[in-house]
């Protein structure tokens, strides 16, 4: 039995790259629910990217199993494609993802691979372009866009596949503060529409601000999977994963506040004793 809102369940998966001394993933179990916002934290080489590639079906776990909407994902192409469609993956560098010569044909790549009818492809492309505010770049060549614009195209690529979960690998790396703010607004909209968001990041301030739950990786295993407040309040977990506390979290501790504010505005209110 699964709770109605459970979308993806990873059960005890393991993966070792060919020739590697130790496994990249070892007994990893995670459940993702509809509309949830999850941060995946950990140092470089902790297994976050391998975990994402397994969740999306690009890598096949050598042990354990993956359940999509309660059904175990088998080895048939149909099942793997269903997993890739439902669990979208936005790569860290948009240039790794973008392959087409125009923005609209790039966004249509996924829906075309799903062998959808032409009208349906057009409608999904139009919808993704509209949601990511890319109308003026529709016929532009992606290689002439800025980093932030390319990132929006990469997200639109995945949105057009109508996923239930979107995995973001280091989404704020190489984005300026304005584009980070725009990205946070996009996350908010996606989450409100019921799509679960899973974000791998080193930016603890961003993770604390934008997500509710944190999964911490160290040496290919999960060392914590709980609320962001609990994770950042646990010095042992942070030390093992090579992480630091978010600045707002630390400021609240120093000020002796009972609440843990996520934004500057919340910190100001809490320090003034407002509710």
């Amino acid at each position: 039995m699964r709770p109605n809102d459970e979308v993806l369940r990873i059960e005890n998966i393991g993966y070792r790259y060919h020739g590697a001394e130790r496994p990249a993933l070892n007994g990893v179990s995670v459940t993702v629910r509809r509309g949830e916002r999850v941060a995946v934290l950990g140092s470089n080489g902790a297994g976050k990217s391998t975990f994402f590639l397994c969740c999306n079906g690009v890598l096949r776990p050598q042990s354990g199993r993956i359940l999509l909407n309660g059904n175990a994902v088998g080895k048939t192409k149909r099942e793997v494609y269903a997993l890739r469609q439902a669990i979208g993956l936005v790569f860290q560098d948009p240039d790794n993802q973008i392959i087409a010569g125009t923005v609209e044909s790039e966004i249509a790549f996924g829906p075309m691979n799903l062998k959808l009818p032409g009208d349906e492809v057009d409608s999904r492309v139009d919808s993704a372009i509209s949601r990511l505010n890319l109308e003026q770049y529709r016929t532009s060549a992606p290689h002439y866009l800025s980093g932030g614009e390319k990132k929006r195209v990469a997200i639109a690529d995945i949105l057009a596949m109508e996923p239930q979960v979107i995995l973001f690998d280091e989404p704020t790396a190489s984005l300026d503060p304005l584009n980070v703010a725009a990205f946070e607004r996009t996350l908010e909209e996606l989450s409100n529409s019921g799509i679960a968001i899973v974000i791998s990041t080193h930016d603890v301030d961003f993770a604390y601000r934008a997500t509710d739950r944190a999964v911490v990786f160290a040496n290919g295993a999960i060392t914590a999977d709980t609320s962001v407040e609990s994770v950042f309040g646990d010095a042992a977990v942070l030390a093992a994963a090579g992480l630091r506390k978010p600045l707002l979290f630390e400021a609240a501790e120093i000020l002796g506040l009972a609440v843990r504010p996520r934004t500057i505005e919340q910190l100001r209110r809490a320090s003034l004793g407002e509710s």
Partner: protein, 301 residues
């Protein structure tokens, strides 16, 4: 500058004895001067000028299949012709068509055609001059103990070959300057070009820009550390950059493939290719240009 000097020598030699001197001299100097002034290219980092111009051209909204089919038909007529007239027509008409789209400007067009022109002119000079033991042509140049002669026959032969080459090149360049590459590749798919070739063209087009950006970054990084200070260090840096580029492109290709697989790629790259239908006036203009070229091709020399 070399192209301009070659062009001047070529036009002068080709017109020697055929045109009166008051016409031939300004014509050869004018050709050289035009290439010297407009033909100088500027370096552009991470951008390919012909691609940028095609993206901006007002003619890039026309049906690409019609443009490609018309260009191929005109090139075929130009090459099959026994006289230089279709080649001359296309050499003169194509820049007018290209600049009609506002982008490129005439200067950009000349810059683009300058490089192929150099190759055509070098080939033309080789056809024009014959090595003789004694003066035997309309124009004779002594080089040590031999003579380089230009005969009326070699002038006629060269005029036909060079006009064909210029006409065909003009067609290709105008097509390239008014049609973004993704549209051209889509048109090739519609003209039943094999899928494997079309897919490779899409990927190669994308990778040109990725590798160009990577190369620019690596070169700037080397330059910032005095990697190009002397000829010796420049050679070493260039070698290092290209070997790094190979390794980087391999890593990039691997990540790119993962990204394609994550979006359900199985085999064959499929994009939604949309283009405006060709209108009747556009078809008629192409047909008229083709008819004029054919008429000129069957005219006696």
């Amino acid at each position: 500058m070399i192209t301009a000097a070659l062009a001047m020598a070529f036009v002068g030699s080709l017109s020697y004895g055929k045109l009166p001197a008051p016409l031939a001299v300004p014509l050869s100097i004018g050709t050289g001067a035009a290439l010297f002034i407009f033909g100088r290219h500027s370096h552009t980092d991470g951008r390919i000028p012909i691609d940028v111009m095609a993206q901006r051209s007002r003619l890039n909204t026309l049906n690409p299949t019609l443009k490609l089919a018309a260009a191929l038909a005109l090139i075929a007529v130009c090459i099959a012709s026994a006289n230089p007239y279709p080649g001359l027509l296309l050499t003169l008409a194509m820049p007018c068509i290209a600049i009609h789209g506002r982008t490129p400007k005439l200067r950009d067009y000349v810059q683009t055609i300058a490089l192929p022109s150099a190759f055509i002119i070098i080939g033309g000079l080789a056809l024009l001059f014959e090595v003789c033991g004694e003066p035997a042509g309309a124009l004779n140049l002594r080089v040590f103990s031999i003579w380089l002669c230009v005969s009326p026959e070699s002038q006629a032969r060269t005029a036909v070959v060079v006009a064909k080459a210029f006409g065909a090149s003009s067609c290709m360049i105008t097509l390239g300057l008014t049609t973004p590459m993704p549209q051209l590749i889509g048109a090739l798919r519609r003209l039943r070009c094999p899928d494997l070739i079309v897919d490779l063209m899409y990927l190669i087009y994308r990778y040109i820009f990725i590798l160009l950006t990577l190369h620019t970054e690596m070169r700037d990084a080397a330059r910032s550390r005095l990697g190009f200070r002397t000829y010796r260090t420049a050679l070493r840096s260039t070698g290092d950059i290209y070997s790094n580029l190979l390794a980087a492109s391999y890593r990039f290709a691997s990540r790119n493939f993962d990204a394609m697989e994550s979006r359900c790629y199985d085999s064959g790259i499929r994009f939604r290719e949309s283009s405006r239908r060709a209108t009747l006036p556009e078809c008629l203009i192409c047909a008229a240009l083709f008819a004029i070229a054919v008429t000129l091709a069957i005219m006696p020399l």
